[in-house]
């Protein structure tokens, strides 16, 4: 059993997946597989969808699947910034087009300037309604 361990943190935007000490970490980098032992030189790379294998100090192994992301290595800290889903340029592009289309559909009549007067009247009305309701409640008490 090795004396030296490194700290591994696997986080995604939605939650922390794993955090703890490990003897060695294996990941699938964009240029190939990587094995990281304690004291590794600082490194940063993108990850391909694949497994992150963590060798724990008690000789057990934990395996996590990540759908891509980034790996940051500092001598005794390894951070995996995992993506929550597989990402590719064309998927992103498709999502962007969909968001745009939805906006265009929404503004079929295409009014591109904000009617501030109308907006403030509308919002003032909403606020007045809420205030009136509160006043009414106080009066009832």
């Amino acid at each position: 059993m090795a004396e030296v361990t490194l700290r591994i943190e696997i986080v995604s935007a939605e939650r922390e997946i794993f955090s703890g000490q490990a003897e060695m970490v294996f990941v699938t980098g964009i240029l190939g597989d990587l094995g990281i032992a304690p004291g590794h030189a600082p490194l940063i790379t993108a990850l391909k969808p694949g497994n992150v294998r963590v060798q724990l100090p008690d000789q057990k192994e934990e395996i996590f699947y990540v759908s891509g992301g980034m790996l940051e290595v500092q001598p005794y800290i390894v951070t995996v910034l995992a993506d929550t889903a597989e990402r590719a340029a064309d998927i992103d592009e498709a999502a962007a087009i969909e968001a745009k289309e939805r906006a265009e559909k929404m503004l079929a009549e295409k009014v591109s300037t904000v009617d501030f007067a109308k907006a403030s009247v509308e919002l003032a009305e909403a606020v007045a309604q809420i205030q009136a309701a509160q006043k009414l409640k106080k009066r009832l008490k």
Partner: protein, 287 residues
Amino acid sequence: MAVAKEIRTKIRSIKNTQKITRAMEMVAASKMRKVQDRMRRAQPYAKKMLQVIGHLAHGHPEYRHPFLDQREIKSIGVIIVTTDRGLCGGLNTNLLRATLRRMKEWSDQNITVQLCLIGKKGEAFFKRIGGSVVAQVDHLGDAPAVTDFVGVVKVMLDQYLEGKVDALYLCSNEFINTMRQEPHLQQILPLVPSENPKLKHYWDYIYEPDNAKELLDKLLTRYIESQVYRGVIENIACEQAARMIAMKNATDNAAELINELELAYHKARQAAITRELTEIVAGAAVV
């Protein structure tokens, strides 16, 4: 007894409404706790991300990523986060009011505003009052995923890279506590790089592939996505808190109303009894 019967029917209907509002209050309370938990779980990622970006930016002072560059501001992109559903008090109204105030200031300075709307309430509002909406997404539910925002974020980032907007703001509610939520306008682009005092001596990463730009690009995009995600999650927590309070008020109001109606009911009932008695006594007197 006609009046008493009418009142009784009314009391029953209010009691039914009260049941619904009480249930909604409890549902909102439990959802709020869940969302708060999600909010907390999203923190480590953003924190780590910022550290790595800080390292990268410091390691490459010669390369300025456009996301970090301050430009003269002629146009501003605003991502406005609203709820999909109503019955949450003045939450959306307050947010839209705060946003509109800023938009008015900008338009007075001849800065154009491009909008990106998340949530149905904002959509309905800007549909009525107009505005240049470039991207829109709704029906996210209570547990949206980061991937739900990839599209809208990409549209806004593209706009920024193409120079159509010179700054990007995120407008959402800030969760202060259960009783208080406040509109919050946060600048997400250009990123203000944090000074990292820990970095005394120069060191740099090994890059794989050997292109810091590409990696930084990816990191920054992910970071901004995670910021938007956090904003939306926080806004959902606010929505649930606001709905909880609104429904609690509604339940209390219903209870008050029932009290009053019950009083009126008893009065009516007693009046009816008294009248009957007088009639009987009067009848007996005649005999």
